[in-house]
Amino acid sequence: MEDILSYPFFQRALLGALIIGFTNGCFSAYVVLRRSALVAGSLSHALLPGIAAGILVSGALTAWSAFLGAMIAALLVVLGSLAVARSSRLDQGTALAVIFTIAFAVGLILLKYVPVQVKLEDYLFGDILNISSSDLWVTFGISVFTLVLTTALQRPILLTLFEPSVAAAQGVPVRVLNYLIMTLLVLVMVSSLQAVGCILALGLVVAPGATVFLLTNSTRAMFWGGGVLGAAGAVGGMVLAHYGEFRPGATITVLLGAAFLLAFFFGPRSGFLRRAGSQ
């Protein structure tokens, strides 16, 4: 253990995993409470064409071009689906499904023109061991921005999540907050690209919140507990991946999945076994 910790690249990777796991874990509470897991799933697919387009426009695969491309594509998909849902008889889920599959397909076609195929795979599945100092700063910036904003706005967000119409009647700008939550969702998912890639990003931003939801009756505990669980899963996954020579992104996701299963079967409140036993 000590010997790997002495490598700067591994230190950076661990720190990156810690920040990403914590931020995504905290935010996953809102994803679960807003019942937006499917939206997040669609987003993870929209990231790919965004990265491809970012590379095409900027001519190189850098963290910034990928981040910006992914963010713009995801925002277009999410805000586009909200706009379609609002101005037609379609619901947001249907609109999202149509728009994100088209976006994903466009991304696949664009791949043909992208010169750096191999490295693009890192964005599909993550490559946290190669996280650079500048990537780390981007991740850190997104993390601070997200945590500060969600903490500062926790009262109106809580009211909005629990009873949107009552919140609106009490003067909470529910629509603005919904757009804000969606924008933050895109940000934290983009920040986890480096760690787990766009396919597995979904796990980080849903699984911790879903797990803690089974264990607690407090929204605050769900938020911070999701953060702690996400961070533990990310760091633990890194270490496990190192010794087992697994892919870090996949190992992190499997660990978080194991935590979820434990909570599902043995949780004190909603445990499956407890419930089955009491019937």
């Binding site: 500062a152 009262r155 999540l161 629990f162 609106a168 009647a169 009490q170 009756n217 407090s218 505990a221």
Partner: protein, 288 residues
Amino acid sequence: MSIQPDSFSADSGSGHCRHCAHHHELQIQGLAVRYQQVLALEGVTLGTSCGNTLALIGPNGAGKSTLLKAIAGLVPRSAGSILWRGARVSQWHREFAYLPQREDVDWSFPVTVRGLVEMGRYSQLGWWRRWRPLDDEKVTEALKRMHLEDLEHRQISELSGGQQQRTFIARALSQEAHVLLLDEPFNGLDRPARENLSSLLRQLAEQGRLVIASHHDLATVPALFDEVLILNRAPVAFGSVAEVFTPALLARAFGESEPELEEKVPAVVSTAANVSREKENALVPAGL
């Protein structure tokens, strides 16, 4: 959150409104509400004031819930005005508490009884003001008044129907709301819980709050309420229970013949004496 005129505490002293200087009025003038193209409510005009309990009755789809939501500001008006203390209700949203129908609440939400009642303080505190010891006191006081102290750490789905209603009323109290808008509060409650809730609502009115509830059990209207609005998309009649709660007017709203209604509503032998006797019976505290 918008800055509001200073509101007085609804808890300051008991029995005001009827006995004190201020007498806040709710004035609804020519109110209409449309959902898309469908007219849900039209021509609603009424005036009432704090200290009253007002029942909204009428057949299914008569617009009872819609009227409550319009007063609470949950659905937009397409015509008319709703004034509280002489100003638009949107300026007073802190003084209004809307209690949704049971099936409209997400009971799985991770919040405890105390956590829900704490939410009531948010409209007093705004978004950023620090939580003070005073806020804890208000929450504790509201929990006590609704007899929920022992349940404060329960998650809201782990309560009986009556306890759930009382939790939402406790939130309205911690909000220091002056007008309580309840959508079918007695739905799904067993008899003791119904009696408990009805005496609570009456106490709230006596302490100067205005209680407005949609209600479908005609038999209990005279016992529970002072005023009635009989509604069938448009108002059929509005006034005190003694004046308005008559077989003839009910038949107009419900489209049934008078004898049939009398069977459903034994209380509609409406002499004023009868009504007041029923009310006294309802006032006996039902095992709080």
